[in-house]
Amino acid sequence: MIAHAIFFYIFSIIAIISAIMVTASKNTVHSVFFLILDFISISCLFIMIGAEFLGMIMLIVYVGAVAVLFLFVVMMLNVAQQKNQWFLSKSSSNHIPFGLIISAVIFIELIIVVGGWKYKPELLTTVNPYIDEISNTHSLGQILYTDYIHIFQISGMILLIAMIGAIVLTFRKREGVKTQSYLKQISRERSEGVKLLEVPSNKGVKIDD
């Protein structure tokens, strides 16, 4: 039990410190790396409470895919310079009240959720899906694909719509771009590719017309 507590505190301290460093570090690429460290330590916490499937999915989805895209954007867009300029300018202080309001709302929400779960458990009845005989993955699948199938499908639909929206926003047909057509290349015959010409002397021939 002591080892469990020690590991819990190690992971949560790493998670909190890296969460602070995400906002505090000057270099944006560094803050993305701290975000990744945060994700990893939180997935370790998931595994520690027995939610191994969620922890692994957290690693695969957030660290393996989402954070890579984050890194791409941050590395390519030169955000670091813009951020430093933005902090030096006057306009940044205008946004402070909005930030404060949003963080206060999130804080109150957290208090309501945690307080309700901790001090009035009978208010919200939660089902404990963790049964010893079957594994975590099975129990999650059984709940997701039976009781909550509609919500699950709808969330998939929303993600699909978001993806189509992103593609529509960035898709444009450019003029004058040469693309390779594999079918055309494969189906090319000798007769249309090569032409033998008799060249009359002193006159020559026009080839490219």
């Binding site: 690429v29 790396f33 990744i36 191994e52 499937f53 692994m56 999915i57 690693l59 695969i60 660290v63 393996g64 895919a65 890579v68 890194l71 791409f72 590395m75 079957i134 594994s135 975590n136 993955t137 099975h138 390779q180």
Partner: protein
């Protein structure tokens, strides 16, 4: 005292796994070069030791005694972290590989997801190395490699779903035991081919070695690395290749099961069968390296997203409907 004993036992087990893996990584580099030379009618490394077996050892010694150069304009902490992360991630994934029914370091319920997660983390070693070098070629190589690995991970994930549909468990040992009657290479042969090609792309092997395409990018993300740090990248890369071979043999070739379940073959321990299968897949990897020319980058992306992804997705639907229709879905 009991706890201490337990810890020592675990450390002993870990060393018993890690040292063979590291040694076999060194041997596999030699094998790779020999096969490559064999296809091209050359001799390959044959001077150091019998058949040149100690060549990798000599190379490793050379790397250890070389100077580690850290570029002045690089981001030093991340620059040093990158090869460490690559090697660590390549080695920790071996923890869940079953070598026999009870010979596995960590027999966890979500073994296959663990391997998948660790291999998807492998991108970071490359991105960090490329970015921290603060130089054009490494950066281009890192960006290329990250895009490539993320794309091919998607198709590998869907291929794994195909296998899992037939097994009904995420445990690697269960996956092997489910193949007792028939290896999955027979019903899922198209998936095996796609898995093999995706594994080549995932580990940046030729013909998909665009991140380190020497004609265009010097050595890609490794350009600025030297000495021990370069050796660590290289160790991690080959450990990853071996891991992909092991994963392929567990998913499709029946892992530690013997090919024929008859008397003389049953006596050979499962470890040897797994090693034979890994070696077989690795020799295929090495042959592909010698035979196939390098892909162009847009061809690589087209292959991943427009051919492999739709095909493997369709195959998931096919497998699921086949299993459902003939009532073959595994029970919990």
């Amino acid at each position: 005292m009991e706890n201490l004993n337990f810890i020592f036992q675990e450390i002993y087990k870990i060393l018993f796994l890690l040292i063979p893996v590291l040694v076999s990584v060194a041997m596999i580099v030699w094998l790779d070069r020999r096969v490559w030379a064999f296809v091209q009618k050359r001799q390959g490394p044959n001077v150091v030791g019998p058949f040149g077996l100690l060549q990798s050892l000599a190379d490793a010694l050379k790397y250890i005694f070389k100077e580690m150069i850290i570029p002045a304009s690089s981001n030093k902490i991340i620059f040093i972290l990158a090869p460490i992360i690559t090697m660590t991630l390549a080695l920790i994934a071996w923890a869940v590989i079953p070598f026999n029914e009870d010979q596995v370091l960590a027999n966890i319920n979500v073994g296959i997801l663990y391997i998948f997660a660790v291999s998807s983390l492998g991108v970071y070693g490359i991105i960090m190395g490329g970015w921290a070098s603060n130089s054009k070629y490494p950066f281009l190589g890192a960006i290329r490699s990250a895009a490539q690995m993320v794309s091919y991970e998607v198709s590998i994930g869907i291929i794994i779903i195909n296998v899992l549909l037939c097994v009904g468990s995420l445990n690697l040992n269960d996956i092997v035991i489910a193949q007792k009657n028939m290896w999955f290479i027979i019903p899922l042969f198209p998936m095996f081919v796609i898995f093999f090609i995706s594994a080549l792309a995932e580990t940046n092997r030729p013909p998909f070695d665009l991140p380190e395409a020497e004609a265009e990018l010097v050595a890609g993300y490794q350009t600025e690395y030297s000495g021990m740090m370069y050796a660590m990248f290289w160790l991690g890369e080959y450990a990853n290749i071996l891991l992909m071979c092991a994963l392929g043999s567990i998913l499709f070739l029946g892992g530690w099961l013997s090919p024929i379940d008859l008397y003389p073959f049953n006596l050979i321990p499962g470890v040897f069968w797994l090693i034979f299968k890994i070696l077989f897949l690795f020799i295929l990897f090495a042959l592909v390296k010698a035979i196939v020319p390098r892909y162009r980058y847009d061809q690589l992306m087209r292959l991943g997203w427009k051919i492999f992804l739709p095909f493997s997705l369709t195959y998931v639907v096919f497998t699921a409907s086949y299993l459902f229709y003939f009532n073959l879905l595994p029970s919990i």
